[in-house]
Symmetry: none
DNA sequence: TCAGATAAAATCGCGC
DNA sequence: GCGCGATTTTATCTGA
């Protein structure tokens, strides 16, 4: 690789640092989300309810996506003359 | 515990064996499911499609359950005179 | 298949329901296992340790199975009168 | 709150949308991290090793932070003129 | 401290 | 046979 022990240390280090950068970013945004929940709670909202609403909306999206995929599968199955 | 080294070996063994029993049972049923998929495939069905259908129906159920929970939360929130 | 163009809803439905049945069964037993772990914890056992024990015994069993398989291989080789 | 009986749909909606925004952002960055791992693998690095490195560095950082905290504690104890 | 949710890791079956 | 994707299991984290 780089000449010495078969491992390109510089490259590895670059990769690790990129990962650490995005992870720091992720941690920041997770903190942000936590703060939104706390602020909402302080305003009198029940966090449980908010979580459920967020979760349900996420499920809606996932379901729509999967239904679209299923349709695609149907289409290809029909082309292959397979039973559904 | 039992007199010797502070660990109740008999009890631990009993627990481990109960766990292994249910895991064996789980493995059996996973094998069963695999066979159903294989049989379906042999009949000409696309396993992918079956998986999607199963998955969608599971999502439906989960969604209904969560909606019921959300309703419960709403009801208690109203009783507590909290904003939704 | 069913007469027309490869769509056999009844059959598909039957398959899906069989799968859902075994998956319900699996879920039940997973719940059972969870309860065993909780009960063990309540009795003072560390669940993590128990997991380790179960895992190690599983490895042991896998190894014994492998050895048994190897033995079978040897046995059939002998029957075929081939040198090992 | 909103005037009548504790229902403030607009506010709730605003909160939910803010949460969804940060979650979308988080998902994006998780996708980014995944791509970095894939790219590293394509270059010949073992993702498992990289994870290990990242994890170890995280532990190191945690330990350093802890030591820094301890040092702060010592410092304030000195200021209070208490024996350690 | 503990249960529930979230994320990470390992495992397994399928495809090429 | 091997990488890839999906499923399952393990560990971590957070909120009650």
């Amino acid at each position: 690789m780089d000449g010495c022990n078969g491992i390109n240390g510089a490259h590895l280090r670059a990769i690790v640092e990129r990962i650490e950068a995005v992870e720091a970013s992720i941690a920041n945004e997770q903190e942000l989300r936590r703060e939104i929940y706390q602020e909402a709670k302080a305003t009198g909202f029940d966090p449980k309810i908010i979580r459920k609403v967020v979760s349900l909306r996420k499920q809606d999206k996932a379901k729509r996506d999967e239904e679209a995929e299923l349709l695609d599968l149907y289409m290809s199955a029909v082309q292959l003359e397979m039973p559904l």
